[in-house]
């Protein structure tokens, strides 16, 4: 629906640029930004949940993690696919890559946590982990960066000097991906809220049926 429209949006300007493989950037960069945004949303939502105890915030945190993991996966997949023809390696342990990998792993752990604990504690504990996980990101980034600067670095970081049309395409793609991200997030939240209300209705129904 909304999604299809905005995704088609991307194709037109993308073809404007030179150097075929470079186009992966249009997916890679916005996805990375949105993944970090998603986890930031989780961080804020977790804090709000612990303060207000409103399950709405827990739902937001949870759905943001799911959406964030999706986009983080995209980053981690498109990255190596881009790197192989360009740098001739699939992976380097450079700070950004490694931090993103750890980030991905952290939020997978979040989802595992939600699955493993019981209902009554789930929201609380996930919120705590959401907070801890996000705080860990800058620390991890700095420590890995420190680690890498002491070793000789084989591969230098990519520069951001882009020509006009490329910048434009990037911005368009970025906006399109933002729409994609928010529609995914909001649909997921809506779905989750529906599920919760159904659980309530089911409970009420069961009580009613038993009384009859």
């Amino acid at each position: 629906m909304l999604l299809a429209l905005y995704t088609i949006f991307i194709y037109a300007p993308v073809e404007k640029t030179m150097g075929v493989i470079q186009k992966i950037f249009y997916i890679h960069v916005p996805s990375a930004f949105l993944a970090y945004l998603a986890f930031f949303i989780t961080f804020i939502a977790s804090i709000f949940y612990l303060y207000r105890k409103d399950s709405k915030w827990d739902t937001v945190a949870h759905c943001a993690v799911e959406t964030g993991v999706i986009f983080c996966t995209i980053v981690l997949v498109t990255g190596p696919i881009w790197a192989k023809p360009v740098w001739n390696v699939w992976w380097t342990w450079d700070p950004r890559l490694t931090t993103t990998l750890i980030l991905w792993f952290t939020y997978i752990a979040y989802l595992m946590l939600r699955r493993a604990v019981k209902e009554n504690q789930r929201a609380n504990l996930s919120a705590v982990f959401g907070i801890i996980g996000f705080i860990n990101v800058p620390i991890t980034f700095f420590s890995i960066r420190l680690w890498r600067t002491i070793h000789p670095v084989i591969i230098t970081s990519r520069g951001l000097n882009m020509s006009g049309p490329m910048k434009f395409s990037l911005i368009i793609t970025f906006i399109a991906f933002c729409f994609l991200f928010f529609s995914l997030l909001l649909s997921r939240i809506r779905l989750e809220r529906l599920k919760m209300r159904f659980a309530e209705i089911n409970e009420i129904m069961d009580e009613m049926n038993f009384k009859k």
Partner: protein, 54 residues
């Protein structure tokens, strides 16, 4: 160009990830719809039972 394969791979994997996710959301939605149907049926039945009793 040789590299086009990579580009194609990247795009297709990305879109498949997105579409798989959307598909799963859609299936959840369907399951919920089915539950609505069930509940409606049960309600109907109960109402009819009530009517036949009273």
């Amino acid at each position: 160009m040789d590299n086009s394969i990579y580009l194609f791979a990247a795009f297709s994997i990305t879109w498949s990830i997105i579409f798989i996710y959307i598909f799963r959301l859609f299936r959840s939605q369907k399951a919920l719809d089915y539950q609505i149907y069930e509940i409606k049926k049960t309600l109907q039945r109960n109402i009819e039972l009530d009517d036949s009793h009273s």
